[in-house]
Symmetry: none
Subunit: 293 residues, 2 copies
DNA sequence: AACCCACTAAAACTTGTGTTTCAATTCCCG
DNA sequence: CGGGAATTGAAACACAAGTTTTAGTGGGTT
């Protein structure tokens, strides 16, 4: 007992162990480290062979990696982690889920709500509408994203994804500018993406009405309760935002926007720009500049 | 090989299968059934041998039990169950939801991905950490939200919710300002909420390092692969952002932020809730907002 | 009581796993 | 440009996992 072996002394989690040595390990093991950090439950559920395949490494690399983490054995590592899990380390709650087991766990209640919010949003959407919007994003002469209050963030998010294929996409309103300075020139060849979730200020409806009168097609991302303002839109994307929570849940909104943008990028590749039209390649390309800091 | 086993026909859940045959199985397999019904995750995590020991049965009993459940193999059973869990409710995956004609169910695939992304984020978080952050939001002298690129939107969203209980909450960086002009005065009594999702510019890490040196506690919302920058944070909130999609999915991030903000409001108690009510009332009164438009 | 049948688990068997070895390769550093 | 250290995955290896066989037990029936 006088000697303290470093092994059992600190009940360090794998994440901690990985981060401690991350800088000093070779590439083949680093891909494993990345995979484990991103999907920790894989270690519990998969065999070492599967883990190697998932991470894109060899079985030998897995063994070396395990040793470097100061585990004697792949299996011992699994046991170790499982112990940590059963003693309450929340990182791996994933595997032990049994819905009603949570009891007073507010987090899991929250998860349930957001899951059903997300599901209800997506299930009741028409894929063709979303694809039509994506197509329009690619083909329109100009694109602008509009949103107020909370919705502004989502409009801005949308615009940020779109500029990867259309660097001219605008975000509105701009501080200190009136809307019409930027939208004044818009016409039937353009596209307005309006995000109007609950707590819409009247400006939004007015702007949409004006744009409709100018013949501008409008894609309108909103909540289910919107009524009158949907009349101005060519495409309506109603999202479920209401939970029993204090604040509205926007998981459905962000998910839909992601979907539209993804489709738009794919479509833009297909329409013959010199961009890669292979989705996988694009993912690879986007992933290569990926700082681990 | 010419014969097609009934293997791939029904994607029934394991619980269903067990209950279907429960009455008609012998004792040694029934103890296994009981164990599995009570701790379903054992099947995923344990080996067949371990499962036998836990339930108090023999290895042979496990094999017979698995066969009786119409799985060809113990390992195949594990794979089957794992697949069902990782996508959430297996109802969505291959239940043949062809209500949307057109053959391509890209939307439902997208839903699956975002559902599991959301689940993996929430389930692997520590509720105590989130509550500690919420508490700090209420008690800190000053609060600032920091984020670059995509993360900026989430920092801004966060700040927008927080100002309902803390009107002094800041969003950073501000255009045309240097960070230190706003953060220079920060110290141990304050709180910095940093959002740093993939594609982090180096500025973020530098800012966090400086703040840590100044003794400022940092709540850091990031993705699972972040390594070095987590060293500067007092609380780390790792989110699952990676799907097989082109763009990262932020459903988990937005959900967590919502949770933290909600808890902060609840914790802020009467004053906070009062303020929120006042705000709503005032808004209603001025009819500044019309939810129906 | 004798027989039969279902059931059980120990032990042999087989397959697939994780580990180790090793030659080829890359990357430094002189 | 070399030589050497480090890194890598394919293949060989040892071993443990799951399956099958088998011998034994207990309960029920005629």
């Amino acid at each position: 007992m006088s000697e303290k072996p470093p092994k059992d002394a600190p009940p360090r989690s794998i994440e901690r162990r990985i981060k401690a040595i991350y800088e000093s390990i070779p590439a083949s093991e680093r891909v494993l480290a990345d995979r484990v950090l991103e999907y920790p439950s894989d270690v519990l559920m998969c065999s070492a062979t599967e883990l190697a395949e998932l991470a894109g490494a060899s079985k030998a690399a897995v063994t070396r990696f395990v040793k470097r983490l100061e585990y004697s054995d792949f299996r011992e590592m699994q046991r170790e982690i499982r112990r940590a899990q059963s003693t309450g380390d929340p990182i791996f709650l994933n595997a032990g889920r049994s819905q009603r087991e949570g009891g007073s766990n507010a987090l899991l209640v929250h998860l349930d709500q957001d899951m059903s919010c997300l599901r209800q949003t997506i299930e009741q959407l028409d894929q063709e509408v979303l694809i039509a919007i994506a197509r329009r994003i690619v083909s329109a002469r100009r694109v602008a994203c509009l949103g107020y209050r909370n919705s502004y963030f989502f409009a801005a998010y949308m615009r940020r994804q779109i500029i990867q294929i259309r660097p001219d996409a605008m975000i509105l309103p701009l501080p200190g500018q009136t809307l019409m300075e930027d939208l004044g020139q818009f016409g039937p060849d353009d596209l307005l993406i309006a995000v109007g979730l609950r707590r819409r200020p009247p400006e939004l409806g007015r702007a949409m009405q004006l744009m409709q009168q100018a013949g501008v097609p409008i894609a309108y991302v909103t909540d289910r309760r919107a009524i009158t303002s949907t009349k101005f839109a060519k495409w309506v994307v109603p999202c479920q935002v209401r939970g029993t929570s204090l604040f509205d849940s926007y998981v459905g909104v962000i998910s839909v926007l992601n979907f539209i943008c993804t489709r738009a990028v794919v479509l833009s590749g297909a329409t013959g720009r010199k961009r890669l039209n292979d989705l996988e390649e694009m993912i690879e390309l986007l992933s290569e500049l990926d700082p681990k800091n």
